[in-house]
Symmetry: C2
Subunit: 176 residues, 2 copies
DNA sequence: GTAAATATGTCAATATGGCTGACGTAATTT
DNA sequence: AAATTACGTCAGCCATATTGACATATTTAC
């Protein structure tokens, strides 16, 4: 870590281009392997990554509306439609009419859905736990902070609201 | 950071499921935004994410073979074929017969290719630099370490060889 | 020197997961 | 009563991946 360029005088340093490129590529390799385990499992069910996302987020917030799911996934309702239909058809998700607003079709996981969601998540939990199990300080905290700061400022409030309960660092003062 | 479960007695701690799920989701959100800037630029060229990957990796290792590129990207040559043909056709990449082995078609960026690669990389460099510009210790180093440990052990040697020059931490003792 | 393996390219068919645009229905809000 | 919202669906298109098959040139192995 010798070739850093000093920055705003606040103690932070500007990463060299070479070091930053290494991080860009590590993002690619890490993400590739991060999704490889669930991908394999999904294959045996005839599902894809899109199904995983739906299962995961519905499981995290049971009773969510279709619109909320679309906002999180950032896809169109037509794209979601096919995936959702398959998940419902195969008995992993069911819908319930909203009580307050009967236009809504609130989303829930069936028992099979909960099971599959957990099965898909297990290898990722293991991978992350092992990755952050470092002797040097609080690696998990710093990792979370950096990932959070990778999110575009315009999206941070939404992300923060979603993650919420698991605790995020105080919002920093950068305009990325 | 209260609800951690102590682990192997080496000072590391096991992350709670809740905290780990937050990291899983942050991976998703961070990666989504991380690729959003290049995606926008690529659209104006009629290119997609696949073209970006090819431009990036060829630019990082000019003269690489097609096979080496396939190994890095982990796609089939048929998938690469179309993308490569478009990049060559539009003048961003050119091929040169290998001198030692004349079967090889070594890959290089044209000047336009170099320019586009840099243009696509710039916002990602900025995003990462801002994300790791933290007062708390060496955030970049820790971030790189964690990302590296997210890579499957079976792939770490390849990744390490690739990243190499930018310096990676000593290989740790986990069997992820 | 012939046979086998390697590096690359290409044709064809298929799957997944996105997209836009248009239209319809039911329920809620104004 | 009219406008808006929540949702679903049909149809077509695009990008990116897949498998399998086949061809060509070159290098390596026996």
């Amino acid at each position: 870590m010798a070739d850093v360029i000093s920055a705003q005088g606040t103690g932070e340093q500007l990463l060299s281009e070479q070091e930053t490129v290494a991080l860009i590529e590590l993002m690619f390799f890490a993400y590739r392997d991060f999704v490889s385990d669930p991908d394999e499992i999904l294959g045996t069910y005839g599902f894809g990554r899109a199904h995983h996302r739906v299962l995961h987020f519905v499981g995290r917030d049971p009773g969510m509306t279709v619109q909320r799911l679309l906002d999180i996934l950032r896809i169109t309702k037509q794209s979601l439609g096919r995936v959702l239909k398959e998940l419902i058809g195969k008995g992993y998700i069911f819908q319930k009419e909203g009580e307050a607003d009967r236009r809504q079709r609130l989303l829930y996981l069936t028992e099979a859905g909960e099971e599959l969601r957990q099965r898909l998540m297990d290898p990722q939990i293991g991978r992350i736990r092992r990755a952050v199990a470092l002797p040097e300080g609080d690696a998990a905290h710093l990792y979370r902070t950096v990932l959070y700061r990778m999110v575009s400022p315009a999206n941070r409030e939404t992300v923060r609201d979603w993650i919420g309960r698991a605790g995020l660092p105080g919002d920093a003062q950068d305009g990325g």
